[in-house]
Structure formats: structure tokens, C-alpha cells
Symmetry: C2
Subunit: 257 residues, 2 copies
């Protein structure tokens, strides 16, 4: 069976399906010039944490994904930030999430070059994205050095809710200080990015992004009260503690699963 | 202060000295065409495990490093196997260890290409290596497919003790079945490579290789009886358990350190 993007032929029944698909997409990302060397090292770090987590979505991560969906639906101006690894791993899934939540998509790179910005924007458009922000770079995030600070004034600069998957710690902290609601996807619950987030999602981005989309579709007709009760049910500190315990202790300690 | 290879200028007092040096060497390895994409991902996995371990050498890892030194000194024909990441990270340190223990150096790549073999051999020679084996490839390890099986008949093929840092699980298991004493350096104590080893060293290769050399110099004048008592004092299963516990539980549970 071919995966959703038609880009690789791995049977979904294969026990290592997700892992092989991930590896394939990262390799393709390097070929396409959108995944950086740092991105490959970061991918390895994520693999190790996911291995220790048992390569599964914890119930607390699922609750975080549902809270993320509620935040994006409640937002006046939600923006999904995309870097090289996110573009390589879940391009079509990010487009689906943007559609399900009415979010903008903005490319934001830790190592920003015009060439890689353009390639990633093109890659997202090939996967169905309409407008891709990030190329104007007429806004800045205070507290970061020049290249790292660049955002679009009418994108992340104007957003009230931002999803930043796999974000660098410095930028996650700087974004958090802007008073925006920050949703982070990061497999390391001890990372500064996860700790800076209003909603930290300790899960593989390959599982997390489609899960947020599923929750957003499920909540599409929910009123403000119901969305706010989803938010109230989620405890970020507790989710981080549970995830760290799962990684440290080998994990099947949550809800007896 | 400049590091031993004169290749980077990071003060040793810098809190992230080792991490920055490692990152710098891996980057240089990519530039030099000796570190592969898989090598970068593997580097990231190692970083995550080392982070959980507290980026320190456990006493049990130090005991493993001492046992490794004793095995290399007791061997009739010890061989140090070198892949792309090892060549990038510790080229001079491998040459020092070979000199301290009378070991051969052999290049062995998971993704073998003649070009990368030559580049790695050249890189090792630039760091002081004499003969570098691995290019003849006139021997094979049974149980592996063609390219993965290649070794030098008068190198790993003839060795009675082999150090394989950062080795792939399949090859570590196949080597272990040949009846050779196998020493593995791997930051994941649950990996097949670590479990296949007679002496698993759960430590960063940047710390482990110089530590084995230090032990070898310390034991240079030891007689066979003393070297054998060093081996007898090391328990591989116990070392793996302690390392896993340190990673899982955050670590300071060994000898009260």
C-alpha cells in the first residue's frame, strides 16, 4: 500500500511502518534540500526519546493534542510554524491541519537561508498548501538575534495561537514571552521548548499532527464553552511529568495501558 | 585553548566544551565526506541517551573501559574497527589507543563505498595512523549480506579481540557469533550491539576511547594474572542493568555518586 503522499511503498502492516516512512521522508527531505544537518541530528534525538517512550502516543499526549485542537479552533489568528524537519516529515498533514482549523502556515527556520525558505514553501505548496507565509520577514520576535527573530508581521507576528513543532529552545521561550498561546511538539519533556509551552505535546510529530487534525474535526461544531472545557481538562505540568516518568521508567505506568 | 587536534578553538572551561567539540567534529566529518546521513541521525540518538545519562562516565562504564584495555593487551591480534562517526569524532584518539595496545586499525562502514573508505583511511593517516586496514576486503563475516560482510582477512578476519564502537546491531551480533571477544561502545544499553558484546561500554565514544587508552597505559606493565583479574572484576550484564537504570531513573544511583 502506498502512503497518503504516494511517495513510498511500505505496507502499513509492516511492524516498522512508521519508522521506515519517517526515515524515508527525512532522506527525501535531504535530497530536496529542505532538511539540514542539524535537522538530521535532531531527528536522531527524537528517535531515541520515542524509542524510550515505546513509540506510542501517551493518553496525556492525546489530551494535549485535543487541547491544541481546541486552542487552534478558539483562536482569532492561529498560525502553524513549519521548519525543515516538519516540512520533510508531515507536509500534507500540516496542510490538512491548517484546513481543519483555519490556520495560516508560516515557514520558520533555525538556520534561515532564502534558498531553503523557498524550497520548503514550494514543498508545502506541492502538498496542497495555499498561501505560505514566512518569506516577507517584516516582523521580529524580541529577544532573539537578527536571523532567528524574523517572522511575518501578518503571520506569527499577528497570531494569538502558534503551533511550533520541533522548535529551538531560545525561540520557544521568546515566543512564549510574547503572550501568545504556544503549542509545542517535542519528544523531550525536559526540553526548554516543552517547558515554555502552554500546551506541550510529547509525541512524535508524525503521530501528533494528524491527531490534532482528528480532534479538530471532531470538535468542529463544538461551541466556545465546550472548547474551553477541553482546555480546562488539560494540565501541562502534569502531562510533562507523566511523559518524563514514561521515558524514565519504561512507561506502561499511565492508566494501566 | 586549542584541542588535541588543533582543529577548533573552544576553551576547555566552557560548560558545553565536550558537546561543542563533538558537534564541530561531526560537522567537519560531513564536510570531509566521511560522516554519512545515517551517521548524523545516529549522532542525535547518542546525544539523547548521553543527555539522559547526565553526560558523564558511570563507574560501571569506567570498569568496562578498564576491562576493554585488559582484553586488548591480552589479545594475540586486537583490531579497532572504525566507521564514519568514529573517524570524525575520535581519529587521533583511535590512533593513540592502537599505539597503546598494539592494535590494528580497520575501516568498516555500514554503507560501504570505495570513496568513503579511502577518505576515512586518509583522515586516520592525517591523524597519525600507520597502516589502515579494511580496503582489501578479502574476508567475510558469515551471516551478513555481501557489502556488510566485507572485512580484511588479515584484519578483523584474523582478530581474536575486536573493538567496534557505534556498531550496527546485525554486524555486532554476527561478529559475536564468530567467537571473537567483542568490545562495543554504545550509549543505548538496550541496543542489540550492547547486548551482543562481551564488554559493552555505555559511554560517549569521545570519553570512552581516551579512557581505554589511559587504562591501557596504566596496565602496560601488568602481567597476565593481573589483566585477567581486571576481566574477572567486570560483569557485562550488571553494567548494562546499571546503565539502563541510570538512563531511566536519572541516574545518580550508582555508588552514591
Amino acid at each position: 500500500m502506498t502512503d497518503a503522499d504516494g511517495d513510498v511503498d511500505i505496507p502499513e502492516s509492516h511492524p516498522r511502518y512508521e519508522s521506515l516512512l519517517t526515515r524515508h521522508r527525512i532522506e527525501a527531505g535531504v535530497e530536496a534540500g529542505i532538511t539540514s544537518r542539524q535537522g538530521l541530528v535532531a531527528q536522531g534525538r527524537g528517535e531515541a526519546f520515542d524509542y524510550l517512550l515505546g513509540e506510542r502516543t501517551l493518553p496525556s499526549a492525546d489530551a494535549a493534542e485535543r487541547a491544541a485542537a481546541a486552542h487552534l479552533l478558539l483562536a482569532d489568528h492561529p498560525v502553524l510554524s513549519v521548519n525543515g524537519n516538519v516540512a520533510a516529515l508531515v507536509p500534507g498533514e500540516v496542510v490538512d491541519l491548517a484546513e481543519a482549523t483555519g490556520s495560516d502556515i508560516e515557514v520558520n527556520l533555525f538556520n534561515r537561508t532564502d534558498e531553503r525558505m523557498e524550497r520548503i514553501a514550494d514543498h508545502l505548496r506541492e502538498h496542497g498548501a495555499g498561501e505560505v507565509k514566512g518569506l516577507t520577514a517584516d516582523g521580529t520576535i524580541p529577544g532573539l538575534d537578527h536571523e532567528r527573530a524574523k517572522v511575518d508581521a501578518d503571520g506569527i507576528g499577528d497570531a494569538d495561537v502558534v503551533l511550533v513543532p520541533l522548535e529551538d529552545g531560545d525561540r520557544a521561550e521568546a515566543l512564549g514571552e510574547l503572550g501568545k498561546v504556544e503549542i509545542v511538539i517535542d519528544l523531550n519533556p525536559m526540553s526548554r521548548s516543552a517547558r515554555a509551552a502552554d500546551v506541550p505535546i510529547v509525541d512524535n510529530v508524525v503521530r501528533a499532527v494528524p491527531a490534532i487534525t482528528d480532534h479538530a474535526r471532531d470538535l468542529a461544531d463544538a461551541d466556545r464553552g465546550r472548547l474551553e472545557s477541553v482546555l480546562a481538562a488539560f494540565d501541562a505540568d502534569e502531562a510533562l511529568s507523566v511523559a518524563e516518568r514514561a521515558i524514565r521508567e519504561g512507561g506502561d505506568d499511565e492508566n494501566g495501558t
